[in-house]
Each structure stands twice: as C-alpha cells, then as structure tokens.
Symmetry: C2
Subunit: 492 residues, 2 copies
C-alpha cells in the first residue's frame, strides 16, 4: 500500500479543521477528554491481531514486544486520561482580593495551546507514534493532534489513525480533533511546523530531524514550542567496589540492556565508564563473553540497519579503539550485530565521534586512568536522557563528587539498574539537557508530559459564573487548588 | 560616573566563577536561599534615600513611584523566598516500586538549570532590574544570577548590585552567586547569552532586543531557554451596555491607566476597541476630555522620549487615523504628551503599523462597524500580555463569543478593570503568546516565575540516604508531594 504525500493545500485545509475543532475541543470537560482517551485505548485493543501483524511486517519487531508495547500505549492513554480528570495539571491558583491594598481577585489555570503536530518514532510504532505519549498528553491538555505518520510504519499508523478517528466520532467530537498525514519528504513536516495554526510540536527521533523542526519553529513569524526527544548514549558508570563484588553479574545485566530489542531504544546504554583496573578487565571480558553469546536481530528497517552498520564501522575504525567482542552468530540481511568496543579516557576525550550515538546493539567501554579523568569525561559529555551508576554503598560514599556531577548530565539517574525500561509514571523524567531534548524542562513520558501543551491564563476580577469550573468558588471539579498560597480542596 | 563595558575575557572569568558558585549554591537549603533573599531585601531598604535619589536622577520617575517600586521589589524577594521555602515549586513526585510489574522506585523533583543571565527593564529600575523578579526567582530556584545593568540606570543598578554582593557575603555564600556586568553595546549581551556556562536568560524590554537574545540562544551549539517579556498593546474592549450605563466613568478610568507613569508600562492600554454607536462617541469625547486634562510627564530618558515622539507622530499620520485629543498642557523637553487617536476597524485591519506599541501615554480607539468586525479584529491581533473587557452582565451574556476568543490573545483577562497594576501573587500570569513573550508557558511575575529556571530530575532505585531531602521517605522538609498519584504531606 502506498500513501500519497499530503499537498500544501491539503495541509492548510487540515489545519483549518484542526483549529475549528480546537475551539470546540478545548471546551470539553476533563471527563470527556478522559473518555475519548479510554475509547481510543479500547479501539486499539479491538484491532487485535491485525494491528500486531501489520506492525510485525513493517518493523520486524517480534510479536511479544509489540503486544507489550500495545499494552503500554493503552496504559498511557488511560493513565494520562486519569491524570487529566484528577486535574492537578491545571495548577489552579486563586488569590482573593485584598481591599486595603486595592489588590484584585486573581485566579489562574492552565489552558491548551492549540493544535499540536506530532512526529512519531520509528522504534516505537505504538507507544511513541500515532496514539503514543505525545498524542495522549496533547489530547488530555485539550489540544487537537495532527500526526505525521512515520513512513517506515505508515500502514500501522493508518490502522491506528482510523480507530482514533472512530473513537473521536463515537465520543461526538469534531473530526478535526485528530488528523493523520502521510509524507515521506521533509516538505510535509515543514509545512506542518510552519503553519500558522500549529501551536506546538512533539517529536521523537534523530538529532538532525529534531533540530530541523526546532529551527523551523523558532524562525516562524510567531515561534512555537518544540519538544524534540533526540536520543542519547546513556552513560553507565561501573564503580570499583561494585566490580570487585560482582563484575560478572553487572556485565551480564548491561549486556542484556545493550542487546534488548536489538539496541533500538533511545535509552540504550551506549557508553560504559570505569577506572582501569584488574576488576574492570574482568568486567570487560565478561561483557564480551555475554555479547558473543547474544544473537543478531533484524533491525526496524533497512535504512536503520544500514546506518547502524556504517556508524558501527566508523566507531570501530577510530584510532585507539579496540573491538572487545562481536556476536558469534553471523548476521542475516538487515540484522544488527551485537558489538562492544573499548578505548581509554584519553582517547574518548579527544575524539568527538566517540560521543555520538550508534543506534543499535553497540556499546563502548571507556577505561579512565583515574578518578580525575573520569570526572573530566563527565564534564565533557553532552546532555543525556539517563545516567546509570553501578555502585556499592562504599562506592557511593567514595564517589560523592561523581554522583553530584552526573546530575548536570541528564534527566534520570539510575542506581544499580539499566537505562532501558522506562516506567510510565508521574515521577518519570524522559528528557534531558540538549542534545537529549530541545527543552530539558519537559518530559515526554508520564502525565507531566501534558505540561508541554498548556499555558497559564489568569482571570482578574472575573465573575464567578464566567470563570472556568476549575476556578469557581464552589470547586465543582473537586480538584486541588492553591488558595492564597495554601494547597487545598476547599470551596471558597 | 561612567562604567566600563566588560570585555569578553572578563565575562568569561565571571561565568567561570558563576559556574563554580552554582556547584555550591545549588546545595543550599531552601531556608538558606530564602534567608539570602530576605537579606537582600533588608539591604535594599537600608540604602534609604540614596537609592531613591539616584534612581530619580537616572529615570526621572517621581519619588512616590520609586518608593512604591522599592517596596514591591522587597515584597518580591521576601514572598518568592517564602514560596521557595514552602517547596511546592519542587513538584516532588514519588512512585513506589511495584515488584509484580518489575517497576522500580522512581522519584522526581525540580533542580536549578545553572547560571541565569538577566537583562533588566528600563522602566522598572528596581522591580524588573538588578534585584527584580527575574533575579529573585532565579535565586529561589538555586541559580546564580548575572545581571547586565541597564545603561539608562547604571548607577542605580550598581548601588543595588553592591548590596546584593554584601548580602551574599553576609550569608556566607560564594561571591559568584551574583555578578553585575556593565555593557552599553550589544557585544556584552551577546557574549553573556552565548557563553557555555549560561543556562537560561531573562529579559524585559523591546521586541527587537528580546528577539535578538532568543535567536542567539537558539543558535548556540547547545540552545538554552530565554524568557523575554517584550511588551504589548493590551487591548481594552468597551462593550455596548457598559458604555450606555457609564461611558464617562469608563473613559476616566481608562484615561488614568493610559497616562499612569507617563504610559511607560508594558501593561499600558494602547488599544481600545468598541462597536461604533452614539455611546461610543460619548466615550470617545469623555476620554478626549480626560486626556486633555492630563499633564505631560518627563519620560525615563531622552531616547525613550524621542522614540515616543517618533512613533506617536507616525501613528497619527497614518491614513484615516483621527487625533481625538492631546494634553492641553504644552510639554517640556523629554516629556511625553498624553494623546488619544481613533480609527475604524477597517483601517486597523489593513494597517499593521497601528498594531505596534507606541511606548508612552498614547492609545488608539478602534470603532468597529459591528460585532463581526470586532471579532475579526480579535482574530488578527498579535499576542498580548493582557486583555481587558469593560462589560455589564448583559454584555457578557451577549458577547460570549468575544469572551472566548480573547482567551487566545493573552496571559491575563481583566473584567471591568485596567491592565496597569500587576499584582505580585502566585495566580498572576505576566506573559502571553508571542510577541508578548518568547514562551507563553511561563510568567515573569509571581512565584511561578521560578519554573523558568528549573528542570526535572528523576532518581530511579536510589538509596534513601542519597536522595535529596525533598524526596526522602521521612519528608524532612515537610512539603507537599505527589505519592503514587496522591498529593500528600505524609511520610512513606
């Protein structure tokens, strides 16, 4: 099946409809939005095997993984829907009038920005694509969504889009609440980002792609916010006492994370950092042994397999980079070969290519000469989604300065765990300093992702009857509000 | 007194010191930060008449206004300090581990971004300058501040900077927590915004100035957030029944707002919009009468007076723009002449120059042919800080579509009041869609301004002893936290 790229005229028409839908959709109650999200979840479930089969064909991802991802997607829709209904994200604030100071009654809540354009990820055909986290959080916020289908899984995207449209209709909402656009070239994306009715952009993908959207959005006559999650090499620090205690166990755990899903996660641990020692050598040997045993996997599509092969080759060919281990199983076409290499801290510090993501089952172990060099590596690392530390209690005491320094690096710190596996919860930060994302103040996983699509609006001296329900004296939504600086569910 | 522009080398040295200070300052307790802010407030108070006198000389603002502004500045410091201590802005979230789903313990809080560069406003030498709202909110967040003095009130800025430095020392904090830089040319500003250790920028001023900083920040190798508040024409809608009831009273109120502080507020009502009628004509006549009685005032500095004269002249010379009234008092040198003009909705819609801010005691009354044209004017207006509506209950019922449409325009909606007078409170939104600000999701007034300078950091599977106090099981800070989706002050 081949989908036609949308023309500029079609995009304009779609955006007009999205804007008209916004004017109605923003007036829906929190419950109506949550109902829509739950209905979308149920419709996705109802697609059954057809959806899984189509995604398997387009992405080469195994059935179990796709079923897990489908469950995650539905959980996102229902849990962000629940968060939408709970209303904490509205950040309702009321300051009552102070007559003696002539200070007026002032009340504030978060309102939706307007139509949000979403560019889904190639590596998550469900959870970070058509009905994924960006779409779910934007719908919760009260924003219509325009999804540009990822060309690598356009049929899967089309199937999901059809059931979202069905859910929108079932819920009695205007069609423009959800729009699905195909476009293989960059022109479609640019037309969407630069359209006057587009009010925000969500993106998951490459640094180049995310940066292009960011630049287009900032160069508009009226700039708009872009949240682009652009990947990461997710450093893992393996500390001396931990290695002394359990080098093999740590190696096996990290090898599992490197090769999980053929390494095609933005949280893949692409960099492992330790201080050179006999224990680190044991760790490297064990990691190599585990990688040799790992089987190659078919990658998402030929383009990604080709890019992996090229980037892996370039990394391994760098001066003073040693190949530690390669999967013992010969790869079939379009498969990614599990690979681990190693280099000294000195080599890493002077070669920026080694800081770049090699998207696939690849990781580089950095052997630092000493603690000082290890801290210098931290200082020179670019922004990351995550940083992990494998450490005993003794390590954490001895390396307090490292534990502090890594806070500048990333959005999520993991102790004795691996970065793959991103829990969907309010406390999740899936984001980080540039170039991990274009704005470290936001997350794309968890209900706090809603914040990307809203802005505050204050009502001064407004009549109670004219105020949004969230701000009325009687607190009809029964939500938490900050009244005169105190959090409360009280009426006024 | 003439201050030397900082050289690039000096700026680099300052930023290095600010970064080193950040590493210590971010570890201070919330109470330590609040103490610093209270100490700065007390030191500003202690400057007494010298500060007021110096500011009067540099800005031509009257004593009473400056004393009021000083009190506001101290209130900002102390109230944002109190908000800092209360800790709600930390947005502490905890999701406990779920063993059966292999979900790890995850906890999140807001951490400071790093050194913040602040460009103060010419029109608020205290409250939005050296120790103003941007500085106060950044210090609360845990960020060192680098203020570039506004060249129009460099001596005032220097005085305030000296007492901030004194307060920093008194509180036992490193000197780099606060840095003061002079620089009349744009090179100083550019060097500050593009320095690798600068992590965010706050600005209050012109559209051109704010946009330049925004572009520099986005073009960095590692882009950083800029919150630039760039002014607004703050439309005021005068509705039919309200005019029928009290045209004169409304006119007098608005005239007071137009001429307050010689119109030198970013919330000055520069546009008044109504539907043409005999009542609107009465309103215009009364507004003209009040403006004729208003005296010209000396503007902040000759540059601003000259810009006002030029922009006012250009506006009055536009085709089909009628001068309604000019102050009957002849102006002295550098004074701004209170002026009101009028035009039809049709004229306004076709002439973009009439949409531009004329910074000073000037306002333009738009006479729309009908409700449809009035809504078209709303649709074509650029982003604003505020929108005001003068309306009876009958008006608000009859003009529900207008009340809804203006929500897209601005950050603050005012009913039967004027936009001047910005309450410092958590419920204040001082911000709005571009070009009012560069990011409508943030405010520069109220303790929510702290959010501009922080980002979330998640801790996964972290030991209780290693967690920041805000996230420890025992809740030692006694703050509100969201634990498994429930807001609570409970321990775990």
């Amino acid at each position: 099946m081949i989908f036609q790229d949308a023309t500029i005229q079609e995009i304009d028409q779609m955006m007009q409809e999205a804007w008209q839908a916004f004017l109605l959709y923003r007036k829906t109650t929190l419950k109506q939005r949550a109902d829509l999200m739950r209905t979308i979840g149920a419709e996705i479930e109802a697609l059954g095997d057809e959806l899984i089969r189509t995604a398997m064909e387009e992405t080469n991802l195994p059935e179990a993984r796709l079923k897990g991802e489908r469950a995650r997607t539905i959980f996102q829709l229902t849990s962000y829907g629940a968060a939408c209904e709970a209303g904490n994200w509205l950040e309702a604030r009321i300051d009552t009038a102070v007559a003696e100071k002539s200070e007026p009654d002032l009340r504030k809540l978060q309102i939706p920005l307007g139509p949000v354009v979403v560019f889904g990820a190639s590596n998550f055909p469900f959870a970070y694509s058509t009905a994924g986290g960006d779409t779910a959080s934007a719908l919760a916020a009260g924003c219509p969504v325009i999804v540009k289908a990822h060309p690598a899984h356009a049929r899967t995207s089309e199937l999901v889009a059809q059931v979202i449209a069905k859910a929108v209709e079932k819920c009695g909402l205007p069609k423009g609440v959800f729009t699905h656009v195909h476009g293989a070239g960059f022109e479609t994306g640019k037309a969407l980002v630069t359209h006057e009715y587009t009010r925000a952009v969500g993106f998951t993908g490459s640094t180049g792609g995310g940066k292009a959207l960011f630049d287009w959005a900032n160069q508009r006559q009226s700039p708009i916010p872009v949240f682009a999650e652009m990947g990461s090499i997710n450093p893992v620090f393996v500390l001396p006492n931990k290695l002394k205690e359990s080098a093999k166990e740590v190696a096996v755990t990290i090898a599992g994370s490197i090769t999980l899903g053929t390494g095609q996660f933005c949280t893949n641990p692409g960099l492992i950092i330790g201080i050179d020692s006999a224990d680190l050598q044991v760790f490297i040997t064990e990691l190599g042994a585990a990688i040799e045993k790992a089987a190659p996997g078919t990658m998402l599509h030929p383009g990604i397999a080709k890019a992996y092969a090229a980037k892996r080759k370039a990394a391994l060919e760098q001066n003073e980079v040693t190949t530690v281990a390669i999967s013992a199983t010969g790869p079939a076409e379009n498969q990614g070969i599990p690979t681990v290499a190693s280099a000294t801290g000195k080599t890493f510090l002077k070669n920026p290519l080694l800081h770049q993501e090699v998207f696939g089952p690849y990781s580089l172990v950095i052997r630092c000469a000493d603690k000082k060099e290890l801290l210098e590596v931290v200082r020179r690392l670019e922004g990351q989604l995550t940083t992990s530390v494998m450490a005993t209690e003794k390590d954490t005491k001895e390396q307090a300065d490292l534990l502090e320094a890594i806070q500048d690096l990333c959005g999520r710190l993991i102790l004795n765990g691996v970065p793959t596996g991103v829990r969907v919860a309010l406390s999740m930060q899936h984001g980080g300093p540039y170039p991990a994302t274009t704005d470290s103040r936001y997350t794309s996983v968890g209900a706090d992702g809603i914040k990307r699509w809203v802005r505050p609006l204050s009502f001064q001296n407004w009549d109670d009857a004219l105020l949004p329900d969230a701000l009325k004296n009687s607190n009809p939504l029964n939500i938490w509000r900050t009244i005169n600086d105190q959090l409360t569910k009280d009426k006024l």
